[in-house]
Amino acid sequence: MQQKLIVIGAGMASGRVLEHLTEDAHDAYDITLFNAEPRGNYNRIMLSPVLSGEKTYEEIVTHDDAWYDEAAVTCRFGERVAAIDTAAKTVTAENGDVLAYDKLLFGTGSTPFMIPLPGHDLDGVIAYRDLEDTQAMMALGAGNKVVVIGGGLLGLEAAAGMAARGVEVTVVHIMGHLMERQLDEAAGYLLRKSLEAKGITILCGANSKEILGEDGKVRALMLDDGTELPCDLLVMAVGIRPNVALAQEAGLAVGRGIHVDDRMLTSVEDVLAVGECVEHDGAVFGLVAPLYDQARVAAQTLLGKEAAFVQKSLSTKLKVTGCDLFSAGDFAEGEGREDIVFRDPSRGVYKRLVIENDRLVGAVMYGDTGDGNWFFGLIKDATDITEMRETLIFGPAYQGGSTADPLSAVAALPPEAEICGCNGICKSTITDAIAAGATDLGAVRATTKASASCGTCTGLVEQILQVTLGDDFQMPAVQTVCGCTELSHEDVRRLIKSQALKSQAAVWQELGWRTPNGCHVCRPAVNYYLLADWPVEYQDDPQSRFVNERKHANIQKDGTFSVVPRMWGGITNPDELRAIADAADKYNVPTVKVTGGQRIDLLGVRGEDLPYIWSDLNKAGLVSGHAYSKGLRTVKTCVGTDHCRFGTQDSTGLGIKLEKILWGSWTPHKLKLGVSGCPRNCAEATCKDIGIVCVDSGFQIGIGGAAGMDVKETQLLGQVETEEEAIAVVIAVTQAYREGGKYLDRIYKWLAKVGLDWVQAQVMEDLENRKALVARFELSQSIYRKDPWAEQAKEAERFAPIADLTLEAAE
């Protein structure tokens, strides 16, 4: 006699079960199929092409009426199963019908998770799961605005689909980069770039706070920083939860999903489950590949045959035209692994392989994913790759093939990219000159002026010569930043500007870094270049800083720290001194020392105490002295006209003014100033990075002094009449150094490269340029002129151990 099979849910998994059943044993079961959606099985994953207009709904239907007829399946679409009695072996439909079963199959899928933000139940707040959601999005067009919460697979497909319809889409993602579960930062950066090119606005690291409505309908999304993003529709695509309510009520064992064994049997006899609603061996599922395996096993089990479901590695692709990405296996976790990275900036290609014990365990790629399945195969089969390790990254076709072109970053520059900042020369001017016969550096310099001024772009001009002339040009060897890149500091600086690279991930990718995220040598340099060139857009990365700058204190040989508060121009008062004395007592500071920079050093403070001692000092008005920074340190002054019988100007006052203007700014190396009231020079101004010597007729400004490993006397930049002018010149020269200097070159080294004449032309002669430099400095200072101690003291817990296992009672 034919047994009765009732299937709950006409989804992608249960659809496959039906196919296997009807193919293998056409009339083993009398099948009834319930589906809450008012339609039969369709290919849910193809909703995205339907949304973008590349397919119609009819094209993605997998089982039509004719198929169900042929397979003799009784369809009850638009009907939900309301209850199950596993003892009586019956199900109750929504309309009250009670049907008996011999076998019952759950395929209820999952439900989208909706973040319970205020306003989540407004009209126009939807998920992305079924045809209805898709149609709501398809109803929009040019002139409409949509916000998508969630920068994962679904959210991005929704965003791209609507953008293709002319909708203005903003994606709000809480993590630092898109699809962080499948992609690393570099691939996330490239994906973001492609999506932005489609006109989609992407906000990463953005926290949603509230959905705002009007007359019961969504009006905007508000972020926790108060930003309002107006929208006509809000799509939440932040995750799914297995749909287990019905199973739970029926008394099946349920964890995150419905518990099933290897044969897809649940805890209750004659009840099976497949798809996203199940939990197998601790795992739940969200992609179709494993569901198809489950479906095959469930069909076998229903037919009384042996079969077992085994979990396998998964791979992901994104179904957005023009965003070619592939990710498989495990590239985020594991011990003893090694990375192989390949980047081709000119083609926008990034590939990273993760190897463990001579096996490939993970692969992420963007831009060129042709070999994705080959790599996926190596992962699944745990193939030993020892033999092909060297060439593995080039894929099956290139075993023993080519390597990346180290010059591709330069080759990729568009013709209008500016190469020589001093003279405003772009790439095409140089290539034109080369075509016209300028085949060496000297000739290019002579005809275009490129690299003829400060000279920091020399490396780039040479590379353009090489790219254009090929082997006809002999490249001189360059000093690269470190082993992560082929480029010199100067090249990296110029390329960050000319390609408008505004994140570290952008630098790593577009400039072809060989490592996933740099090293302790290049990261601090790149971080500095980015914040100096894009003070507003780029966010300083403390993790790319040496400990002193990250902790805002100097580390000592025993791991304790020193604390040096600022004493503006070397001036202090009894209250400040009392606060310092109190702090020294309170935090048991072993050594209190007067520094060579006219202030007081508290040495030997414990790392955990830093935020507290800072906050005590802050209360007395004392702020960080940046004694640890590649930035402004001290401005040493002498007593000047206030007290001294020889003083010609108010050197103390000028020193204090300069320190208040310059403090907090980051520079390629440390920056120390001195202001002396007369040529007797008691503030040692002539051996400082920038030194001012006051004279009767005004202010003599010198630069490039030092008294460390090299002792250098300043060179005279010029003399100005007024204090105002002196300040402007100091700011301008500081900014020129910030914009052009190589990381870890003090002013005297930078000066040796660019020449005093050039600096004089920039800040003494060209007054417009001086003004522009001052304006750019001020823009940067609008972000950085603040006390880092006050900021950090708010996060005291970050300075403490994350846990203390010595305290917990052991038994």
Binding site: P542, Q543, I802
Partner: protein
């Protein structure tokens, strides 16, 4: 093994580190990737530099005092003689779990 919850992964900045005090001394937790943490001794075999204060890059950390570099997956110093102890870590739903037994805590049993 006795797995002990010591905190959430987001308590450690990406490519940053925090320490855990243990009966064996301070252990550094190094967050090398979005969902990857390594546990290793906090003390540099060269002159005792606090490794958790170093720059974390790839799966390595550079000592803040004199720039020795350690591979956090093996504990070996790169290009130098020396190594640091590494300890098992598990991540479960964002929580960081350390093996108390390996860290010198007497097991409850």
């Amino acid at each position: 093994m006795t797995w002990m919850d010591v905190g959430h992964i987001n308590d450690i900045p990406l490519r940053g580190a925090r320490i855990v005090k243990t009966p064996l001394g301070c252990v550094g937790l190094f967050r090398t990737d979005v969902a990857e943490v390594h546990a290793a001794s906090n003390s540099c075999p060269h002159k005792g530099g606090p490794l958790s204060e170093g720059i974390v890059h790839g799966q390595k950390v550079t000592c803040p005092l004199h720039n020795w570099v350690f591979d956090l997956t093996t504990g070996a110093a790169v290009g130098e003689e020396g190594r640091i102890d590494i300890y098992p870590v598990r991540l479960e739903a964002g929580r960081i779990l350390l093996d108390g037994t390996a860290l010198g805590k007497r097991s409850a049993a």
